[in-house]
Symmetry: C2
Subunit: 662 residues, 2 copies
């Protein structure tokens, strides 16, 4: 009976240490030698040798101002009443005065420059003067740039292992060079492998067929390598074929310093990477105790007698990108003579409980914002396949191997991707997902450079709870109160009792049943959901749409237990629509805009009000005004009105303002 070959579970530090030892033995742990490049191509490159000045700057004493070069001793005793008059000579005639522009060499006999503003002269322009009158003496060496004021020949200008900035290039040129020796850029081969992969170009040309996956990891890995100072090569996709993968790997190793094989790094039937590595060299690590990213392979290939490090990069996109950060970046840094990147850290309050499996270190992506006086970290979806979570991430929270997780409200350390400046500019929305909020994020980024709206979907109720806890700047809410038929206010009174808030309408939205195009199941209204041949897809508990559904089911006397798929939860309107579009469900409740986006038919049910709930303190803060300005902006209104099923007449209307404690 067959059993799966399990991967190793090597702790991160040990995996790195094991690989590094092997790199050391193979002589692959040292900074790369230098190559000479012209200065105008050297920006961002790393010096391979120290740079000692070849020339002094300035190479001669020079005038620091426009004026007249003189001997200071000739000016001694000059006063307003007893001025001194000096004849003007050319520079090579000793004594008197000589006109000099800023930067001109001082004549050899002179030791000071009288600025043109401090003398009178007998011509229209100072350079045509034949004599000058001074009303005060000048000190020796005044307004003279001494020789080597900037740099003395022979001085250390820049050490090795220095990343060249614009001013560095200027100084290197100033002290006599036209080229600079910089570390050779590591060449990194990226081999995508997998029979199911198609290129983005193929996908754009003819669509994605079932079972196919667009190969984009190589794009991410190549851009990472480029950002970290390496030279990436993206190889064509290799199908799952041991022989062909072996050949491609050998070819890559011959011309590159590092080979990344993506993916086939696990232990499945089509996972050839481990066999390729152990056949062509030494397999050092197969499986690292980190997630996402567990099935990582570290090894060294030996091709034509030359050792070349290799990484088997996992296929899930988040795993692939994090493997780049964890293993590729520090190796490239080492080869360039630079320290590995250390991301700035920040302490933030966690917005929800996180459980993490023991044994693996977990890297959780988080959105970070400053809410009032504290930083808040909202965890993003944790799946290894959810690359958008890495796109939206402001940082990583690392949960150590033997920690079971963190509590909501706990202060945790976050390693930041985003600059502090961007975080300070972030408006954090937690609550119900809405497409007009997506538009608001887009308008904000366009109109107010540097400002961002980050949304975390937690449902309408989740948003109010987050507001209560001080974890966001605003919550989007569309909660129907079954008793009163009123939107939001009863919930706000219950969940935000005593908290000063302003409630402003964003829009009204048409809610209804999203069904497959042409309505193949002949669904007419909510009653059809109980039919045994109809598969439903629901929203999560606490979502306004879920509450709306339950309200109508109760009114119609439909038992939720009779609805097939009632327990299947999705987090957004678009995810529900996608489930219907993909044929996995026959109906879902959601907004018309999502149905139209996914090409679905739509049976309207009601027009609901979607409000923004904003703590009074933020509402009155100038920093927050861009959000309020957009609510009264004609272009933004028009863009929202153009979303199918959206109605904007009430946009920006203040529903209520609760100022004091209840």
């Amino acid at each position: 009976m067959g059993r799966r070959i399990y991967l190793e579970d090597v702790p991160l530090e040990e995996a790195w240490a094991r690989w590094l030892r092997a790199l050391e033995e193979a002589g692959l742990d040292q900074p790369f030698p230098g190559e000479r490049v012209p200065l105008d191509q050297a920006l961002g490159r790393v010096t391979a040798e120290p740079i000692w000045a070849r020339l002094s700057v300035p190479p001669y004493p020079a005038a620091a101002m426009d004026g007249f070069a003189v001997r200071a001793r000739d000016t001694v005793g000059a006063t307003e009443t007893q001025p001194r008059v000096l004849p003007v000579h050319p520079a090579d005639a000793e004594g008197g005065a000589c006109y000099v522009d800023t930067g001109d060499p001082l004549p050899p006999w002179a030791d000071a420059v009288v600025p043109v503003e401090q003398v009178q002269f007998d011509a229209e322009a100072p350079e045509r003067a034949t004599r000058i009158t001074l009303y005060q003496p000048i000190a020796p060496w005044a307004n003279v740039r001494p020789i080597a004021e900037d740099i003395a020949a022979g001085e250390l200008v820049l050490p090795a292992n220095h990343r060249l900035r614009p001013v560095d290039l200027g100084v290197i040129a100033a002290c006599g060079y036209v080229e600079v020796s910089v570390r050779r850029q590591p060449r990194v081969a990226i081999l995508p492998t997998g029979t199911e992969l198609i290129s983005p170009e193929q996908a754009a040309a003819r669509g994605v067929r079932p079972g196919e996956i667009i190969e984009f990891n190589s794009l991410v890995l190549a851009a990472q390598v480029q950002e970290w100072g390496g030279l990436p090569t993206r190889f064509p996709i290799v199908p799952d074929d041991l022989e062909r993968l072996m050949e491609a790997t050998q070819a890559a190793a011959r011309t590159h310093d590092l080979v990344l094989i993506n993916a086939g790094s696990s232990a499945g039937s089509e996972d050839f990477t481990a066999r390729v590595v152990s056949t062509l060299g030494t397999l050092l690590v197969h499986g690292v105790a980190v997630r996402p990213g567990h099935p990582v392979i570290l090894g060294i290939l030996h091709v034509d007698g030359r050792p070349v490090p290799v990484i088997g990069v996992p296929g899930f996109p988040v795993s692939a990108a994090l493997t780049g950060e964890i293993f590729v970046e520090p190796l490239l840094a080492r080869w360039l003579g630079r320290p590995p990147r250390r991301r700035p850290r920040l302490s933030a309050v966690l917005t929800r409980k996180l459980l993490s499996p023991l044994g693996d270190e977990e890297w959780v992506r988080v959105t970070v914002g400053r809410v009032g006086e504290r930083y808040v970290a909202a965890p993003l979806p944790r799946g290894a396949g959810v690359l958008s979570s890495l796109v939206r991430a402001d940082g990583i929270l690392r949960i150590p191997r033997f920690v079971e997780g963190y509590d909501q409200g706990q202060v945790v350390p976050v390693e930041l991707y985003t600059s502090g400046e961007e975080i300070e500019g972030t408006i954090l929305a937690i609550g119900s997902h809405d497409m007009a909020l997506d538009l608001m994020a887009q308008f904000l980024a366009e109109r107010y450079p540097g400002r961002r709206l980050q949304s975390a979907n937690a449902g309408s109720l989740g948003g109010l709870i987050a507001l209560r806890r001080g974890e966001c700047h605003l919550a989007g809410s569309h909660l129907l109160d079954p008793e009163s038929g009123e939107y939001n206010l009863p919930y706000i009174r219950r969940y935000l009792a005593g908290m000063p808030v302003v409630v402003i309408t964003l829009a009204h939205r048409e809610q209804g049943l999203m069904i497959a195009p042409g309505n193949p199941k002949g669904i007419r209204d909510l009653r059809d959901l109980a039919r045994p041949d109809v598969r439903f897809v629901n929203r999560q508990r606490g979502a306004g749409t879920r509450i709306l559904l339950d309200y109508y089911l109760q009114r119609l006397g439909i038992d939720p237990g009779s609805i097939q798929g009632y327990e299947r939860e999705e987090l957004t309107h678009l995810a529900v629509a996608a489930a219907v579009a993909g044929g996995r469900a026959d109906a879902g409740l959601g907004i018309r805009a999502a149905a139209v986006t996914m090409g679905l038919d739509f049976i309207p049910l009601t027009l609901e009000r979607y409000d923004l709930v904003i703590p009074l303190a933020f509402y009155e803060d100038p920093w927050f005004q861009p959000v309020l300005e957009l609510l009264h902006d004609a272009r933004f209104r028009a863009a929202v009105a153009a979303l199918p099923g959206y109605e904007v007449t009430a946009m920006g209307r203040e529903v209520t303002r609760i100022t004091g404690s209840a």
Copy 2:
């Protein structure tokens, strides 16, 4: 009688506002339109439009693990004692189980994946199994990636005005694109002008002749433009000729979005930039109340009916680079739809008093390090010509227009160039200048990536005073006590009374007279300095070399007043050597290495001891150990021993350790 035309004195904010108003009127203040580029060339570019997902990711429900796709309801009731056996079918046959690899689409009839580790199967490899045995039930949708888990078609993936990172490229490709619309890169023309300018290539080929200046500002400005997302063009050098500058400016304006003319921006006889700007367009600002950088011109050219902004960039290299930061960067940011860069700020203790002229805002370059619990900012040379000060700067201290300066010890705000990480890795040395310390900086950067040694030259006594104030990690000192003939210790007892320090020898150095090659003045010893035909160049008060000179003069009974140039002070050995090499002085006192570097003759006087004085707390700190390790490193010793006149037998020897209070 002629009088200089004075420049304006426009405050920074007003200058920018005046220019911006004109840019607005000319329609030049808006972000640039987009151009489509392939994704693999889009890293670092800025999105010109929001990106809405064209495809869902994944586009179908997919297996999240290697295993068997099943209907969850077929597994209900399975236990260790009553396992469930399912036949294995191909994907298109409904029911039973079907082998799937991670990422494979789920067969339409299935709703869960049983991981391969959780079943037994009747073959060597799971994909050849004909039936599987389950010992536990599986929940519906377990191990299934729902459709659109990552991205739903129609969703906002990225807003406009977003700078693309590696993961962004992946997500854009994943949701169906091969290209992205990014803002066109602003084209910036850089026109160097000045009859005295020669290119770095000319300088390297035939040396720099008196009166010539190597043109390197265009290299710095071009690299700045590149770093800020623009496309620079460096034009050939234009001599000071109004007609030719006019032609070059017109040509540049026809094909560029912004023209930088460097220099000729002042009001001297050869300064044509203002005339070019007012002839070809509108001169808006001529002179900004900031230093370095005062003679800045802002204007708008009108060439062929097209408005093109122009900046007259001052010629002094620090002024030129700061003009780039102050005026070019925010304009490029605006055109790219990005906020202007805001540098991180930090509060630091100023190591010495700074006086600043009223009326101009002054940008003082500072080195920053953390000494104990506080950050320390040591001002660097302030001359507008000292580009090396900008190279060494960790940040800028801005002294506002109507502030007269800051006191030593005052806490001041610094805008940082350097990352916090680099500052944390900085060892700050204040004291006597020494070439072995330069070598130490170089070795430190090479051996310990991320560690830096920053030296500020304040003379030996200045170093001890800085140590006393807690402003540096170590002080280099070679102070001869005239009474005892002993080095350093009497001074340490006097200036650092009660402070626990360790004194370690770095090297012995040969001190002597540096004289022109061939000794044209026939100088034999210190007595010749008093000759009327001998011009001397001295070191600053507090320098060990100055104290050494005074010690010998006193012993020999020579009156300092009889020495021509005794009052002319330079800050380093190399600057003194450069003064002699440049023919501005006939002799100076200094170390042999400096004389040899500058090609001078040398008359030895004595062998002196150069020590490092290190507070005990740093000496014992692991963070500091790299310095101590280098003192016992064979390669470092050899490199120092190779410096002319250096003797390293005592390197690393502990001279004394003062542990308690005196």
